[in-house]
């Protein structure tokens, strides 16, 4: 086909449509995904075109949604579940952690769980409490789940299709504040990177900045700003959080000797902790400074009028870069 200029929301919508066209076993399910097209309109128009049997408005119960999706997967379907907001995934946590994650293992592979759980995540949209959470570390700590985060429209289009095609359950994180933000050119004849890979999105030599989801944009902006001060930052979009694709990360840090990782989730036991632990172990002799972490503070998500102070931003990333160079 051809090139189109799309938002992340559009990319996801197109990707879902493509996956549903390609495989009649793909079903969507969630609150308000039907006529409304979801509160973010990611499923816009899909119920109209694929019918109520394939785009299923559910009762208001997240455990029910994921639990019935488990049953549908056992029957041979490939359910794609939408959690309306990050903060509302927790009622489904038991089903995700004890059932979805373990089904392949306990059945010795006889009952795979090809399920995608889409979660709009992160802050920055001025929302009330429970609408700006970053729950990824909790899922990444759970063997049996795979966890990915897209950061841009083109990845949105490809990654959602790849996640649906995967025979493993995938927690699919979508940076909600990017949904309708920037546009990018999609060439839908291109060959996408494999799903579970990280990607260097800006080359650099002095320090490696690691990011995913909403903070990729922040990291790129920081690199841009640092360049004006003569510092060359390499930026890696992790894309996959479990498994981590450490190859590009280790390569980069071995070259730069310094790393900063940034995410919106709380620093304490966030993805940054794991990355820091691994980099520290595997680049022990290359590191000129410890891996520094810039994340949400270890407080509940604050009232939205001060969320910009809470969220990692360009300045806090640059501050960490400075601190790294002070070692």
């Amino acid at each position: 086909m051809s090139t189109s200029r799309i938002t992340l929301a559009k990319g996801l919508n197109m990707g879902l449509r493509k996956a549903m066209e390609d495989d009649p076993k793909v079903l969507l399910m969630g609150e308000d995904v039907g006529k409304l097209g979801g509160v973010f309109r990611i499923t816009d128009g899909l119920q109209k075109d694929f019918g109520e049997d394939r785009v299923i408005d559910s009762p208001l119960a997240e455990s029910g949604i994921v639990g019935t999706a488990v049953g549908m997967a056992l029957r041979g379907y490939r359910p794609v579940v939408e959690i309306q907001f990050d903060g509302f995934v927790y009622p489904a946590y038991d089903q995700i952690v004890c059932q979805v994650a373990k089904m392949s293992y306990r059945s010795k592979g006889r009952s795979p769980m090809p399920m995608v759980i889409r979660i709009p995540f992160g802050g920055g949209i001025g929302a009330v409490e429970h609408h700006s959470e970053s729950p990824e570390a909790q899922f990444a700590h759970t063997p049996g789940l795979k966890v990915v985060a897209c950061s841009n429209p083109v990845d949105g289009y490809w990654m959602i299709q790849q996640a649906i095609a995967s025979d493993d359950p995938v927690i699919f994180l979508e940076p909600k504040r990017q949904y309708h933000a920037d546009k990018a050119d999609l060439d839908d004849t291109a060959r996408p990177d494999p799903l579970f890979t990280s990607r260097v999105v800006r080359a650099g030599t002095d320090l490696t900045v690691l990011a995913y989801g909403p903070t990729v944009k922040t990291a790129l902006a920081a690199a841009e700003a640092a360049a004006t001060e003569g510092r060359s930052l390499e930026v890696i979009d992790l894309r996959t959080l479990s498994p981590l694709d450490m190859g590009p990360v280790l390569d980069s840090v071995r070259r730069t000797g310094r790393a900063v990782i940034t995410h919106e989730a709380h620093v304490n036991l966030g993805i940054g902790a794991e990355v820091a632990a691994r980099v520290s172990e595997q680049c022990f002799y290359s590191l000129e400074a410890p891996v520094l972490r810039v994340g949400g503070f270890d407080t509940p998500y604050p009232a939205s009028r001060i969320e910009e102070e809470y969220l990692p931003d360009l300045d806090r990333v640059l501050d960490a870069v400075d601190r790294s160079f002070e070692f």
């Binding site: 509160v39 208001l60 001025g126 700003a225 503070f297 009232a303 939205s304 009028r305 806090r316 501050d319």
Partner: protein, 390 residues
């Protein structure tokens, strides 16, 4: 081993009678004391004599509550609030429920209970902080006997039940002393009735016979999903399966809602356990100010419900019976205007929190690590300010 049976027994009529079609007008079980036309009707179980003062009071409450709602909606349109959850159309349900409370009763609200908050004496300005993004609720729940708005659907139903269990342990249930005996109201919506937590609350409340009234405003919609997605039978009947009574009341009838809630509360205070009250009403507005209901519902339905406006019917009744005069109405208008002014000016003046406030009250006893983060942030911030922006 599995022979075909000689005949296929089917389930008798008593097993399927619950499958009645959804009654569009609430059905015969709807408790009503004031018709949409403003006619006072009577009910064999739930009836009350309302004094003129009482009626005027309920009317005033509804008028002012609606004003709070329209002002807040406008404030959102003007960018002063991030979002607002309108209660338009649900004034009677909330005022009826709110005024049936005694001071010692305790309420667990959702994000839409502005009318109940009003009855609890909360300055409506205090409701705006959450929607403006300056706090998560500005009142003291213990002082006002009114919890913070709960956004995670259904969670508060369990809190209410536990609180009611606490009341049992405090010996404030079934003593016969009207100033002592207390009960709890858990508010939630039709959509919330599908959450595990709400159903578990029914189980715990029934099991411990807890003094809690489950007050469900069935406004027919959970964002874009109609009530039929949540239940194929009238919601009040859910309670029967858990072993406690359910009542469907006309939620657009403030008198009936008052009477039914009052009775349910008294039952709870007396130690007779939980009740489910389904206030049958309609969400006249959007789910919130960010919602667009034209995508999923017919304007005809909305028009139909306009005829059942909860305020208009009381107004008709009051006027027809000479219970209000021009002076009362003019005073009320003035009071509403002042309230509007208070909200508009107050909202704009609501201060943003200090950035450092985000580190406060994470714990009753702050941890050393959080202190370090807080101080680091303060130093960073200070340095940043002295340095100027990059």
């Amino acid at each position: 081993m599995s022979p075909t049976p000689p005949h296929d027994p089917s389930f008798g009529p008593d097993l399927v009678e619950v499958f009645g079609p959804q009654q569009t007008d609430g059905g015969p079980e709807l408790v009503q004391l004031l018709t949409p036309e403003g006619e006072r009707v009577h009910h064999p179980e739930f009836d009350l004599d309302f004094s003129a003062d009482h009626l005027r009071g309920l009317y005033r409450d509804m008028v002012l509550t609606r004003r709070i709602d329209t002002e807040a909606t406008a404030l959102q349109r003007h960018g002063e609030l991030g979002i607002w959850a309108q209660l338009l159309g649900q004034e009677a349900a909330q005022i009826g429920a709110g005024r049936a409370l005694r001071p010692q009763d305790h309420v667990f609200p959702t994000y839409r209970e502005h009318g109940v908050a009003w009855c609890r004496g909360i300055d409506p300005l205090d409701l705006l902080g959450l929607f403006r993004g300056v706090d998560h609720g500005a009142w003291d729940p213990a002082e006002k006997h009114f919890g913070l708005y709960t956004i995670v659907i259904g969670a508060q139903a369990l809190h209410a039940t536990g609180y009611a269990m606490g009341m049992q342990r405090d010996g404030v249930v079934g003593t016969g002393d009207p100033d002592r005996d207390a009960a709890v109201v858990a508010h939630f919506g039709d959509g919330a009735s599908s959450q595990g937590d709400v159903n578990e609350a029914f189980i715990f409340a029934a099991s411990y016979n807890a003094p809690v009234v489950f007050f469900c405003q069935n406004n027919q919609w959970a964002i874009s999903e109609p009530i039929e997605r949540q239940s194929r039978i009238p919601l009040y009947q859910r309670a029967l399966g858990f072993g406690f009574p359910g009542v469907r009341v006309d939620g657009n009838d403030v008198l009936a809602t008052y009477a039914v809630t009052q009775a349910a509360l008294q039952r709870a205070r007396d130690g007779q356990g939980p009740t489910l009250v389904e206030a049958y009403t309609y969400r006249m507005g959007a789910h919130t100010t960010t919602d667009d209901p034209t995508r999923y519902r017919l304007s005809d339905d909305v028009e139909h419900w306009k005829l059942k406006d909860p305020i208009a019917r009381v107004e008709v009744y009051l006027k027809r019976n000479g219970l209000v005069d021009e002076a009362f109405l003019a005073d009320l208008k003035k009071e509403a205007d002042e309230l509007g002014h208070h909200l508009r000016e107050g909202c704009k003046a609501l201060p943003d929190p200090e950035p450092g406030a985000m580190f406060e009250h994470v714990y009753a006893e702050e941890t050393e690590e959080l202190r370090v983060q807080r101080e680091g942030f303060a130093a960073y911030h200070a340095g940043f300010e002295s340095e100027g922006a990059r």
